[in-house]
């Protein structure tokens, strides 16, 4: 398996090994981590266990096949997996293809910047801690929003509640990302 600076999370390290070396052992470890969480996440929206497992299977296969799109300098593993999971759920349950933004054209040969990867992971870690510290009713609103159970009007009427607080944290970290993206223009 690839050697990464020790501070980078094991999930990111596994994902990079899958992306760069098509490492099946690393993929199996990602499966062990994500499959039960994905199943729990998908079943929360009322999907039965059987269909949830079908979606888990497709999400895990997408992680394998689309690994080259994983960029740890922009997205932390669980954010990337979340997006794949929501897309698959929508494709399966609503029988429609969700419009996706263009991918950013990037230089694939660029060396990964460990400090940037760590910064992204730190943001994500702080966000998860913040989520876990919320009062149950506030946490419930956030979870509902990201499970796709709230309309944009309902999310809009929740402004000032935890969504804004949590997001302002991640926004700070993303200033750097924005600046770098602008350099590319």
């Amino acid at each position: 398996m690839k050697q990464q600076p020790s501070q980078i999370s094991s999930l990111t390290t596994y994902m990079l090994s899958v992306r760069d070396d098509r490492d099946r052992t690393a993929f199996a470890l990602l499966f062990d981590h994500f499959a039960p969480r994905l199943k729990g996440f998908i079943m929360r929206s009322g999907t039965g266990a059987g269909q949830a497992e079908e979606i888990v299977q497709e999400v895990m296969l997408t992680i394998w096949h689309k690994a080259e799109q994983f960029d740890p300098e922009r997205a932390q593993v669980s954010a990337w997996v979340y997006q794949i999971a929501r897309n698959r759920q929508i494709d399966v349950i609503r029988k429609e293809n969700r419009p996706l933004p263009e991918e950013l054209g990037e230089d694939p040969s660029a060396e990964p910047d460990a400090s940037q990867i760590l910064a992204v992971e730190q943001e994500a870690g702080q966000l998860k801690d913040a989520l876990l510290k919320l009062k149950p009713d506030q946490r419930d609103i956030i979870e509902k929003a990201y499970l796709g159970e709230l309309t944009h009007q309902e999310i809009s009427s929740q402004t000032g509640l935890p969504l804004g607080t949590i997001k302002s944290r991640i926004r700070l970290g993303l200033e750097k990302l924005r600046y770098e993206l602008k350099e590319l223009r």
């Binding site: 099946r24 993929f27 199996a28 499966f31 062990d32 499959a35 039960p36 969480r37 994905l38 199943k39 729990g40 996440f41 079943m43 497992e53 888990v56 299977q57 296969l61 394998w64 096949h65 997205a75 669980s78 954010a79 990337w80 997996v81 979340y82 997006q83 999971a85 929501r86 897309n87 759920q89 969700r98 419009p99 996706l100 933004p101 263009e102 991918e103 950013l104 943001e123 994500a124 966000l127 998860k128 989520l131 876990l132 956030i142 979870e143 929003a145 990201y146 499970l147 796709g148 709230l150 309309t151 944009h152 809009s156 402004t159 997001k167 991640i170 993303l174 990302l177 924005r178 993206l181």
Partner: protein, 211 residues
């Protein structure tokens, strides 16, 4: 590219990240993110929040055999979904809605044209072509309208909208967008209400009466 000054509101970005926007709005937001780095970053922040919810999800044990199934399938051939690239003024998601072909414009009179991309239960989305000085057709009189400028610009009581800007209008906004001088204004217009045409002509005549 001129600076984008009118962005996608955060609640729409959050609902888009969670996959809970009606299809016409999802297309408008995906197209706007394709053009706007600020909203791309904000969208990615929502994905991180979604990832945190996923990480904090209750763990449900998967059936015995699911893992070996998945591992066995890693080498199976997959059909790659076609990825549409930006073409001229049209961002990738719009090219996908156009199925890779140029828009098929239909005249609405007065030089204004439209090309309907979809029209269904969840609302409609279309491209509009408005010569300078003409009014942007009203999409509907109820519900929410998102208008993303792809070429030229238009102005109304609330400001000027150039390439990449998105206007969010609900029924409370009384406005008359007019295409500015210069190249014809081409925009992507999405609404969650059915298309209505009967109010179109009177509104189109408004700028003439102002002369």
């Amino acid at each position: 590219m001129t600076a984008i000054t009118h962005h996608t509101p955060d609640a729409l970005l959050a609902a888009y990240a969670a996959g809970n926007l009606p299809q016409p709005f999802a297309l408008a937001v995906a197209a706007h993110i394709s053009l706007c780095l600020d909203c791309r970053a904000a969208h990615e922040a929502h994905l991180v929040s979604g990832g945190a919810v996923l990480e904090a999800s209750k763990v449900e044990a998967v059936s015995e055999g699911l893992k070996s199934n998945v591992l066995d399938l890693l080498d199976a051939q997959v059909v790659e979904k076609k990825v549409y690239q930006r073409s001229g003024i049209y961002p990738g998601p719009v090219m996908e809605a156009l199925k890779g072909k140029p828009p098929r414009w239909k005249s609405l009179g007065m030089g204004v044209r439209q090309s309907i991309l979809s029209d269904g239960r969840e609302g409609s989305v279309r491209l509009l072509y408005i010569p300078s000085g003409r009014a942007v057709p009203d999409h509907s009189h109820n519900g929410l309208e998102l208008t993303l400028v792809l070429q030229g610009s238009f102005s109304d009581e609330t400001g000027r909208f150039g390439v990449g800007d998105i206007e969010v209008a609900d029924q409370s906004l009384e406005h008359t967008p007019i295409a500015d001088e210069g190249a014809p204004c081409i925009c992507l217009a999405a609404t969650d209400a059915p298309l209505r045409f009967n109010s179109f002509v009177p509104r189109l005549l408004q700028p003439l009466f102002r002369i």
